[in-house]
């Protein structure tokens, strides 16, 4: 199990008296990109929140990079695991400049050379240096999401929790952010746990996915299942059909890609 970046075992999560997630167990290998798929209310974001320490009322086991996670906030934990939120319009402080937002995690952890690190990070996420002293309202949605990703990466975590990072963005901007996330993962050897309801995004970004419905995982499938719809659970099949199935499901294309990535 030392290979697992994130390991969840029999995880139950409650908000007050309502249990919203039941019996969730899965492992995400180091360097893997794993997706949690499901509808609103299926508990997928809650799982991310529990891992990040934002939903403290859980039972079971959560361990990240081999270390079991406690229930409270944990400073050493934020060095290894960071989260990017869904809505870049809501997740950045409106009265803090990008520079402040990015240097804050460094200040909290007492890390020096902040200015240099901020400059480096801005270019790593593809933002021009002129954005450094601007406020969030002066940035577009895509640029803000880049800032949110940069903020999450400031402490050089190994594990990233992504909560629908592109659902608030336009198609062409979504493509830019997905490319960015893919490149960062390749360059920094990151592990991704990504929540989404967009199956094509899973196909582009992830290696495996867990499908959640009503707080439980109904199926864990490799992304190749998206090519031919070879899911076993009826709920997953419904979700797949509602997403339009695979319009490119041409037998010749499928055969060609099979030979390319076995």
């Amino acid at each position: 199990m030392s290979n697992a970046a994130i390991s969840l075992k029999d995880l139950d999560i409650s908000y007050g008296d309502t249990k919203v997630v039941r019996d969730v167990s899965f492992d995400v290998a180091t360097g893997e990109s794993f997706a949690l798929v499901g509808e609103s209310g299926s508990g997928k974001s809650t799982v991310l929140k529990a891992i990040a320490g934002l939903a403290p009322d859980w039972t079971g086991e959560i361990s990240v990079l081999g270390k079991p996670r406690g229930h409270g906030t944990d400073r050493t934990f934020s060095n290894t695991c960071q989260m990017v939120f869904q809505d870049p319009y809501a997740s950045l402080h409106p009265r803090k400049t990008i520079d402040t937002v990015l240097s804050e995690p460094l200040a909290i952890h007492g890390i020096g050379q902040r200015s240099k690190k901020v400059v480096e990070m801005l270019s790593a996420v593809g933002l021009d240096q002129r954005f450094r002293f601007r406020f969030p309202h002066q940035l577009s949605g895509g640029q803000r999401q880049r800032v949110a990703i940069a903020r999450a990466l400031m402490l050089e975590p190994k594990v990233m929790l992504l909560d629908e990072p592109t659902s608030a963005l336009d198609v062409s901007v979504q493509a830019e952010i997905l490319n960015l996330l893919k490149r960062l993962r390749r360059e920094q050897g990151l592990t991704y746990l990504m929540v989404t309801h967009n199956l094509p995004v899973v196909s582009f970004m992830c290696d495996r996915m867990a499908v959640m419905n009503k707080g439980r995982i109904v199926e864990i499938a490799p992304k190749t299942a998206l090519y031919d719809g070879s899911f076993s659970d009826p709920y997953t099949l419904d979700l797949y059909a509602a997403s339009g199935g695979n319009p490119d499901a041409d037998p010749a294309v499928a055969a060609a890609s099979d030979t390319k990535d076995p």
Binding site: V171, S172, A175, H197, G245
Partner: protein
């Protein structure tokens, strides 16, 4: 009469005054919509697609300004209608479904009341008939137990149910043209398909025209006959839905390519160059 298109728009322009002078958000748009035709308008945020939808109903508020050479609906010149006459057309003959049911329904009125109100404004009916029409309508948007739903308040229903209520409200006066502005972007994928299937069924069954406004190319291609692609206030491409993949304009091609596919083999998605061209 029946050969004439349901809606004719020629040289539609919408502009807003800013300190730096007027900004045109719709720049000379032309479109025609036949009876029982389903037209999709696709574009990204700020492309002017919603403004186009609103301007057909003359819903552009000051300081916005709207001009058109022709804006004719069923032989009627909409530009020449006064405020009061427009009110009579809105809802009764042209209706619009908005994006988010959470913000479009009155929170302090029961659903049954709101739907009845939509009908009452345009038709005088005895109360019993009114009630029957509401229940019938709720039934046709496939809400289980319509009597119970009619007594509920908007906060008691889910997003998908709320959107069905909106559809019921918009269709109860039996309009000839339905404008749906991102009717499903606030909904889950599985509910999206149900709501669109429902709109499609009600539209084709009743000889209505449909304008579906969305940012989702594939979705529009699935539910419409013809597609207009908008960028920067202009229509950059018009094609029939089955021919979408043969699109020739670089912007449309860029949009299509930027979308991840179910069977993704590319390592990187091509992105649109902000200057207008396509970079891979």
């Amino acid at each position: 009469m029946t050969d004439a298109p349901l809606l004719e728009v020629e040289d539609l322009r919408v502009s807003f005054a800013t300190p730096k002078g007027p900004v045109e958000v719709v720049k000379g748009l032309n479109l025609t919509l036949g009876r029982e035709e389903r037209l999709g308008i696709v574009g990204e945020s700020g492309s002017g697609k919603s403004m186009t939808g609103r301007s057909i109903l003359r819903l552009i508020r000051a300081p916005g300004k709207q001009t058109a050479k022709t804006l004719r609906f069923d032989g009627l010149d909409l530009m020449a209608q006064g405020t009061r006459q427009m009110r009579r057309i809105r809802g009764a003959r042209i209706s619009m479904i908005m994006q988010d049911p959470k913000f479009s329904l009155n929170p302090v009125m029961t659903i049954g009341h709101q739907i009845a109100e939509a009908l009452q404004v345009h038709e005088k009916l005895p109360r019993r008939d009114l009630q029957a029409r509401v229940i019938e309508m709720l039934n046709s948007v496939r809400l289980n137990d319509p009597e119970r739903v009619a007594k509920m308040y908007p906060h008691e229903v889910s997003g998908g149910m709320g959107q069905r209520v909106m559809i019921a409200m918009m269709l109860i006066p039996r309009p000839q043209l339905l404008i749906a502005d991102e009717p499903t972007s606030a909904l889950d994928v599985s509910i999206q398909a149900q709501v669109l299937d429902l709109i499609e069924e009600l539209v084709t069954g009743n000889g209505m025209g449909l304008i579906l406004i969305s940012h989702d190319l594939n979705l529009v291609a699935r539910y419409c006959d013809r597609i207009l692609v908008m960028n920067g206030g202009e229509v950059v491409e018009a094609c029939t839905a089955p021919d979408l993949h043969k699109a020739s304009h670089p912007y449309t091609k860029g949009l299509l390519a930027a979308q991840p596919r179910m069977q993704e083999t590319r390592d990187e998605l091509p992105v649109l160059d902000r200057s207008g061209g396509v970079r891979t």
